[in-house]
């Protein structure tokens, strides 16, 4: 299966389920030089505009962008822009999660079914998500239904693949235990394979969450009339770069926050996986 790439520099949170084995907090590595570099770059940027060295419509000063962010903070401002996007993202993600976990459990547990279904799924996985939009427009129109569907399709795959890997990673000893106690098939699936798969499922969901946000923006850029993606493209056409950059910065911040929130949720729900790791370390 496709191993998801780590999505946090320095702490390998999403390379499979053993992420909790990696140590490394953000604080450990923050040193003066790094922060100083960021500050220096920002100052350089600001100066490049103020001094007139870079005279371009599309290159606004940092302060201008910050002002643009600030003025937008009202219900009619960023609230409207992001509100509908987040709603669609959430809807698409939840659909993807339900479908991905259910399908992943079934395909992970049955070699035959996975042989039948995987080639078909592969085709849709390798098709770039923007390319799914125009065909679906003809079938679903340009409203929320279209966007949520595209988001769900894109977010479906990381969860599916990770769930399959998780099911297949169930400890063989656990399965033997189930056999010696003559535990029925359904109980094995829900009581052993599903919990074993949970660390993988969480990793897949986290990746999918980030992907859902991205694809939300993409669909709004292609077929939008509202939302962040549409806003960014509109600002591009209207030659209002500071508003455009402002939206991008806020979008990144939201993505970052969602990721951290999900990590916290993961940590709380997988206490037993932590315990297991602690036990293994102390042997």
């Amino acid at each position: 299966m496709q191993r998801p790439a780590a999505n946090t520099i320095g702490h390998d949170r999403s390379a499979g389920p053993r992420w909790f084995l990696r140590r490394g907090r953000l604080g450990e590595w923050h040193s003066l030089s790094g922060v100083a570099l960021v500050a220096a770059l920002l100052v350089l940027w600001e100066l490049s505009v103020r001094s007139g060295a870079v005279r371009s419509e599309s290159w606004p000063a940092v302060t201008t962008i910050l002002r643009a962010i600030g003025t937008g903070f009202s219900a009619e401002g960023w609230g409207t822009v992001f509100g509908s996007s987040l709603y669609r993202m959430a809807a698409g993600f939840l659909l993807a999660a339900l479908a991905g976990i259910a399908t992943g459990l079934v395909l992970g547990a049955s070699t035959m079914l996975s042989r039948v279904a995987m080639p078909t799924l592969e085709i849709f996985r390798v098709l770039p998500s923007p390319a799914i939009v125009p065909p679906l427009i003809f079938i679903l129109g340009v409203d929320d239904a279209l966007k949520v569907t595209v988001i769900a399709i894109a977010a479906f795959f990381p969860i599916l693949l990770n769930t399959i890997a998780g099911v297949r990673a169930a400890d063989p000893v656990h399965l033997l235990v189930a056999r010696t106690f003559r535990v029925p098939r359904r109980r094995i699936l829900l009581g052993i394979q599903l919990p074993s798969a949970l660390p993988y499922v969480f990793a897949g969901c986290r990746i999918s969450l980030g992907l859902a946000l991205i694809v939300t923006v993409v669909t709004e850029m292609i077929a939008g009339s509202e939302g962040v993606g549409y806003y960014i493209v509109s600002m591009q056409y209207a030659l209002r770069p500071s508003d455009m950059y402002a939206a991008i910065i806020l979008l990144s911040a939201i993505g970052y926050l969602l990721n951290r929130l999900f990590l916290a949720l993961e940590r709380r729900s997988l206490r037993w996986a932590h315990g297991l790791e602690r036990q293994a370390a102390h042997g």
Partner: protein
């Protein structure tokens, strides 16, 4: 005596149920369209798509579009991989470099790369430089992050062994750490490839200039629906070809790794 080697036959047998399934739903779509259960004009109509596909592939636009897409993708992707691996090796191996660059990169990483498309269009225009830039930016991070992680997880014993042979930093890094981190690096490169294809397609769709994405949108706007589906199929096949090639490459490069 069969001229087909056993390994091939084994893999073909494994694929058979999947291919049969694909054939069956294509057949269902065909029947549904023919008997009017689905709208013949707007829904995928396999026989029509196949016909249009043949025409599309034979047309002069095809090699141009394919070349444009693959070209932009290749340039941006290879640049990103090179930069990502080199930077990642440096950051993974050399703590001060990591400390210096990590905050900056950590700030840039969460930016959804498609959102950078409009700024890049404003800054670089609609042509090749913009497309290469967006592919580069998108493909850089997965490779970079995975390289750093790959370096980090190399068995420290191996590194010490290299040190006792007085290998010198450059040699240690390239001869020892790079091959050891290869599985993780390749995993990142695989993600980057998919991301790159998405970004180049998106940029073509939004700018309507050259490439497969542009052709797709073109067909859509002109209501040449089955043409549009044909271009979708082309993109799917391209995605598949890239994925399979990457698989083959990975298999050859890390045949030794147990982690697959």
């Amino acid at each position: 005596m069969s001229a087909v080697p056993a390994a091939f036959r084994h893999r073909a047998a494994a694929l058979a149920p999947g291919l049969a399934f694909i054939a069956s739903w294509i057949a269902v779509l065909e029947v549904a369209a023919r008997y009017g259960w689905m709208n013949r004009i707007f829904s995928p109509f396999p026989s029509a798509i196949a016909a249009r596909l043949a025409d599309v592939v034979a047309s002069p636009e095809f090699p141009q579009a394919l070349g444009a897409t693959v070209g932009m993708l290749a340039v941006g992707y290879l640049l990103a991989c090179t930069a990502g691996v080199l930077l990642g090796l440096g950051m993974g191996y050399h703590r001060p470099t990591y400390a210096l660059l990590e905050p900056t990169l950590e700030l840039l990483r969460p930016i959804p790369k498609p959102a950078l498309l409009p700024p890049l269009i404003l800054l670089l225009g609609l042509g090749a430089p913009m497309k290469i830039a967006i592919v580069f930016l998108g493909a850089l991070f997965p490779v970079l992050i995975n390289t750093i992680q790959g370096v980090r997880t190399v068995d420290p014993v191996l590194v010490d062994v290299a040190r006792t042979f007085r290998q010198g930093t450059l040699k240690t890094v390239f001869r020892m750490i790079l091959p050891a981190s290869l599985p993780m690096i390749l995993a990142g490169m695989r993600v980057s490839l998919g991301l790159g294809l998405i970004l180049v397609t998106l940029s073509e769709m939004l700018t309507g200039s050259q490439g497969l994405g542009a052709q797709l949108v073109d067909a859509q706007r002109a209501f040449r629906v089955q043409d549009m589906y044909a271009w979708t199929v082309v993109l799917a096949l391209l995605g598949l070809a890239l994925a399979l090639s990457f698989d083959a490459l990975e298999r050859r490069l890390i045949f030794w790794s147990s982690r697959r």
